[in-house]
């Protein structure tokens, strides 16, 4: 937290939910000093330290690496540590938990569904005949082969893309942007052979075909992963699979 002199005050309207006290959430207004170099997370920590210790929120690294502090800032999913107060000052800002997730307390939401979705795409290197022993050395990869999936591997699981996606809100079983991007990351990896297994999830009813290409997942991604691109590319590849199955002799299985 920076120690520059405050240049005024800033109002924060924060989503509060305490299941033991009330069935419904409400908004509570706090005033924090306005510093040019403060981010929303600094303001939340100021509230927690100085005015209301009961406010709950997740955070860890405060530098856009850990992906813990995602919140809705005026209705847009942002990392609390990367959203500067100066971009909103002097207007008040409304801070809510990420959309489309069940809220446990205040800004803390339940991420079980997200973790299950991640696991369902088998985000690890799959080898048809098991991994070769260490004594046989590494699976080598050229820089060009690495470049194919590098962008999709930058995901920090911050879940901003799920909060930005209206399809996730309407179809809670939709696999969602980050999980599909991660599936694509492994599918494009030259060392991996697990695409057929992943396709059962990725190309299923709850997979890529739910996506209507609104594109906001990519717009809000703090790591420029471009999940919307990953999903459209996966659609294109699945469509090619389908044509091969229908038109190729032996269903195009020999690839």
């Amino acid at each position: 937290m920076a120690n520059s002199t405050p240049k005024g005050a800033m109002r924060l309207e924060v989503f509060r939910y305490s299941p033991e006290k009330a069935e419904e959430p409400h908004f509570q207004t706090y005033e924090v000093p306005f510093h040019k170099d403060w981010v929303v997370l600094d303001a939340l920590n100021y509230i927690k330290d100085q005015s209301d210790g009961t406010l709950s929120f997740r955070w860890s690294c405060r530098m856009g690496v850990c992906g813990s502090c995602g919140v809705m800032v005026n209705g847009v999913p942002k990392l609390g540590c990367s959203a500067f107060l100066r971009d909103y000052y002097p207007n008040p800002i409304r801070v809510e938990p990420l959309e489309h997730f069940p809220v446990l307390r205040d800004l803390v939401f339940q991420l079980d569904s997200f973790l299950d979705k991640l696991k369902s795409v088998q985000p690890w290197i799959v080898r048809r005949e098991g991994e070769k022993p260490v004594s046989e050395g590494e699976y080598l990869q050229t820089p060009a082969q690495h470049a194919r999936f590098k962008d999709f591997s930058m995901c920090i699981n911050c879940m901003l893309c799920y909060a930005a996606c209206p399809v996730v809100g309407m179809e809670p079983h939709f696999l969602g942007p980050a999980a599909i991007a991660l599936a694509q990351r492994y599918n494009l990896d030259s060392r991996d052979q697990g695409r057929p297994q992943r396709q059962e999830t990725v190309a299923s009813h709850d997979g890529i075909w739910q996506c209507t290409f609104i594109g906001q997942c990519s717009a809000v991604c703090p790591k420029h992963v471009d999940p919307a691109g990953a999903i459209q590319q996966a659609k294109l590849e699945s469509t090619i699979d389908w044509f091969k199955e229908v038109l190729w002799p032996w269903g195009g299985k020999q690839r």
């Binding site: 939401f109 339940q110 809100g169 309407m170 290409f213 609104i214 990519s218 717009a219 691109g229 590319q233």
Partner: protein
């Protein structure tokens, strides 16, 4: 511990401009479909003879028909341009380690659009 599930209002697409633009893009299909129906009716009238066709053409001169065409054209342009600009998302073309710049994927769409439009114009207007 009872998690609170926030309702998703039917008006979610009015909350942010990008969502509204997405809904407009979805809506373009209605106008494009409507125009196709109008076009099919026109062909039908043409097959019914000159009198029927001229009656149909007269109908197209009404202010209502003209405003429909203006709106449908605007939506068709919006549809075409937004989808052209989304093609690089679906097509990740790589040369070695570098990805081909998005502009190079978008540009051929415009070129094809101009060429096809010119061909149609040539067929219709050479007479």
């Amino acid at each position: 511990m009872k998690p609170y599930v926030r309702p998703m209002p039917a008006t979610w697409w009015l909350k942010r401009t990008p969502y509204l633009l997405f809904m407009l893009r979805e809506l373009t299909s209605v106008f494009i479909a409507a125009y196709v129906v109008l076009f099919l009716v026109m062909i039908r009238r043409l097959s019914e003879g000159q009198a029927a066709y001229e009656l149909f053409l007269n109908g197209l001169r009404s202010p209502l028909a003209i405003s429909f065409h203006v709106v449908a054209l605007a939506f068709a342009l919006f549809h075409t341009i937004t989808w052209f600009h989304l093609t690089p998302k679906a097509m990740a073309v790589r040369i070695g380690e570098e990805r081909v710049p998005p502009a190079l994927i978008i540009a051929p769409n415009y070129v094809a659009w101009v060429v096809v439009s010119a061909a149609v114009a040539w067929i219709l207007l050479r007479g």
